[in-house]
C-alpha cells in the first residue's frame, strides 16, 4: 500500500483522516500538529519560557523532549524517582543516554531522599495511582520553581487526555475538569508553575510510531501498579469506540476544549488560594494533599 500523498510505502493508516502515510509524511504531520497545539494555545514562548520537562523515560516524554529540543526551547529534563523497583530503576538509564546524546540538562529527584519513603512502601496498592499523582505533581511543581522554570511540560497524549476527561465525568469531578486542559490551573499564583501538554492531540500509537521512526530508544516497561488503575477500564472502552468509530477520541478532546471556558468561569475561585500550614504551598484546606500523603507514609 502506498502513501496517500506520494508514491512511497505507507507505514501507518490514520482512519480518522482516511489516509495512509509514509514515514516522511507521517513525521511532517506529527510535528506540524505539535507545533499547532503549542501555537493555538500559546502554551509556550520560545523567548520567555524556561521549561521543566517531566521525563519518565517512556515514549511520550522522550518524544516531547526531542521535539522541544529540536525547536530550540529552553528546557531542563526533570525526573521524579518514586522508588518503584523494576520500573523506575529500569527507565533511568534510557533518560541518561538520551539527555547525554542531545545535550539536555537532566535533574533527578528522589522521593526517598527528599521525604524518606518510596511508593513501594505504601501498603494500599489500590490507591497507588492517586498517591503517585499527588506526589509527582507536587514535587515537579516545587522543583520547577527551584530551577526557576516558568512552565512544566508533560508528555500527556490524546489517549491520556480523553481518559482523564471521561474519568472525571464518570466520577462527577467537574471542578477537576475545569483545572485540566492544554494549560492547567484555574488561577495564576506565584507558587504555581502552569503545566502544559504539547502532545495532547497525538495518540499513543502515533507517539510510538514517531519514536521508532526517529530512533528514540525508550523504555516500555509497565508500571507494576498500573493494573490497579481505574483508567484501564476507561482506556478499553475508548479504544473499542475508536476502533468502531474512528475520530472519537479527537472529538471528545475538541468538545472538551469548547466546554472548558464555561467550566473555568463557573468554578473560578472567588478568593485567593490559601497557604498550607505545613509547607506554605497552595491548598484549599488547612493542609495540602501533598503534605497529607507525605505525613501518612514518611
Amino acid at each position: 500500500m502506498n502513501c496517500s500523498r506520494c508514491k512511497n510505502k505507507a507505514v501507518v493508516e490514520l482512519k480518522y483522516l482516511g489516509e495512509r502515510l509514509c514515514a516522511e509524511h507521517f513525521s511532517v504531520l506529527f510535528e506540524k500538529r505539535v507545533r499547532r497545539t503549542i501555537a493555538n494555545t500559546k502554551m509556550l514562548n520560545r523567548k520567555k519560557d524556561k521549561i521543566a520537562v517531566g521525563v519518565s523515560g517512556g515514549k511520550d516524554s522522550l518524544v516531547l523532549l526531542y521535539l522541544l529540543k529540536k525547536s530550540h526551547y529552553n528546557i531542563v529534563a526533570v525526573t521524579i524517582d518514586e522508588g518503584i523497583r523494576g520500573y523506575r530503576d529500569k527507565s533511568l538509564p534510557y533518560i541518561k543516554r538520551f539527555c547525554k546524546e542531545y545535550e539536555i540538562p537532566w535533574k533527578v529527584y528522589s522521593l526517598k531522599k527528599e521525604y524518606g519513603f518510596t511508593l513501594d512502601s505504601i501498603p494500599d496498592k489500590r490507591l497507588m495511582c492517586s498517591y503517585c499523582g499527588v506526589l509527582r505533581r507536587g514535587m515537579l511543581n516545587r522543583k520547577a520553581r527551584e530551577l526557576r522554570c516558568t512552565k512544566v511540560a508533560t508528555g500527556h497524549n490524546l489517549d491520556d487526555e480523553t481518559q482523564m476527561i471521561l474519568m472525571n465525568l464518570f466520577r462527577g469531578e467537574l471542578e477537576r475538569l475545569a483545572r485540566a486542559g492544554p494549560v492547567t490551573g484555574l488561577i495564576e499564583d506565584e507558587l504555581f508553575v502552569p503545566r502544559v501538554k504539547p502532545l495532547r492531540e497525538c495518540s499513543e500509537k502515533e507517539d510510538v510510531l514517531y519514536a521508532v521512526l526517529r530512533g528514540i530508544e525508550y523504555t516500555d516497561v509497565e508500571c507494576p501498579y498500573s493494573r490497579y488503575a481505574y483508567r484501564n477500564i476507561v482506556r478499553e472502552l475508548l479504544n473499542k469506540m475508536e476502533e468502531r468509530y474512528p475520530g472519537t477520541k479527537f472529538a471528545i478532546l475538541k468538545n472538551f476544549d469548547k466546554m472548558l471556558p464555561f467550566l473555568r468561569k463557573y468554578y473560578m475561585p472567588k478568593e485567593r488560594p490559601k497557604r498550607c500550614k505545613k509547607c506554605g504551598e497552595i491548598t484549599r484546606g488547612p493542609i495540602c494533599k501533598f503534605c497529607e500523603v507525605v505525613e501518612e507514609f514518611s
Binding site: M1, A10, V11, V12, E13, R20, A23, S56, G58, K59, Y87, E204, K205, V208, L209, V212, L213, D220, V221, E222, C223, S226, R227, A229, N232, R235, N239, E243
Partner: protein, 65 residues
C-alpha cells in the same frame, strides 16, 4: 514457514501458514491495533505479506506508566 517474532513480553520463532502480519497477530491472539509493527527493521502495515525467515518486531502501544 517460520517467522521470528519479538515483543516486550517474548521472543520466539513460530510456524506460520498464513500470509499477512495481521493473520500472524491473530494466530498469536494479539490485536494489531495495540502495536506498531515492523518487518526486518522496517515499519509496515498489518496487510504486509510475510515470507519464510522474516523477523517481525511488535512495539506495544500501551505502556501504562
Amino acid at each position: 514457514m517460520k517467522i521470528h517474532v519479538e515483543t516486550r513480553d517474548f521472543r520466539k520463532t513460530v510456524a506460520f501458514r498464513g500470509k499477512t502480519v495481521k493473520q500472524l497477530m491473530k494466530g498469536l491472539k494479539l490485536n494489531s491495533e495495540n502495536f506498531v509493527l515492523s518487518k526486518n527493521g522496517e515499519i509496515v502495515l498489518e496487510d504486509e505479506v510475510l515470507k519464510d525467515g522474516d523477523k517481525v518486531k511488535l512495539f506495544p502501544v500501551i505502556s501504562g506508566g
